[in-house]
């Protein structure tokens, strides 16, 4: 409630204690004529002070408990965000490593191909004498584009 943001908490406790004091005063000090004469309106007023004071004190306490929970949750969220960032770094490192391994292994295989097509005689002969038919190339390229619209 916005009142809680503007007024200090002690005001609500003060209103409650004032109301309580006023109510007790109307009973204890009834031998004083002016108090005796005005005791009914004073008692109504004191009950109003007690009610407002109790209500607002309860709200202030409740607000304080919620604020504590909010702070606790904020700390947990900050910790979770830090942990999430740390996990992101771990995931990226893992991806980069695996990606590099795949690249290196692929390059090794390509080097091996380059080597055998010049070194192994039967392979050299096969490569020179057996060009791929156009239909094979088209079939391969169609397979590459299977997922294209």
């Amino acid at each position: 409630m916005w009142l809680l943001a503007f007024l200090p908490d002690w005001i609500f406790y003060a209103i409650f204690i004032f109301g309580l004091g006023l109510f007790v005063a109307t009973i204890v000090l009834k031998f004083i004529p002016i108090i005796y004469m005005k005791r009914i309106p004073l008692q109504f007023a004191s009950i109003a002070f007690i009610s407002i004071g109790a209500f607002m004190s309860g709200m202030a306490t409740n607000e304080m408990i919620w604020q504590m929970r909010v702070k606790e949750l904020e700390a947990k969220v900050a910790q979770a965000e830090a942990e999430a960032a740390k996990k992101n770094v771990e995931i990226v490192e893992k991806i980069v490593y695996k990606d590099r391994v795949v690249k290196e292994k692929g390059e090794e295989i390509v080097k091996y191909i380059d080597k055998i097509v010049v070194e192994k005689e039967e392979v050299v002969k096969f490569v020179e004498n057996c060009p791929l038919p156009k239909e094979f190339i088209d079939a391969h390229n169609q397979a590459v584009k299977i997922n294209k619209k």
Binding site: L3, K76, A80, A84, V127, P133, I137, V144
Partner: protein
């Protein structure tokens, strides 16, 4: 009547308080957000080139697979972290 409306406004103003704890959606790493490479097409009739293109395509497939696994790990980890905050 005016007093009643005033009292209602004062008491209902307590309902307008917004939740103060804001949680941000976790940002996925840039590496994961990159698209997978398209497969390479064959442009010559040489068997050597065919082999190289096949190797290249396998590489691209595995690199894409690594990213998908990365997304799965990312989701699993982030969900676990998200659920741990209560």
């Amino acid at each position: 009547m005016k007093t009643l409306i005033f009292a209602l406004i004062i008491f209902l103003s307590g309902c307008s308080v917004v939740t103060p704890v804001k949680r941000n959606f976790p940002e996925a790493p840039k590496t994961l957000q990159e698209k997978c490479e398209e497969l390479a097409v064959l442009q010559s009739s040489s068997v050597t080139d065919l082999l190289k293109v096949v190797v290249e395509n396998y590489q691209r497939h595995y690199r894409c697979e690594i990213k998908v696994e990365g997304w799965q790990d990312w989701y699993k980890d982030q969900k676990q972290i998200f659920d741990s905050v209560k």
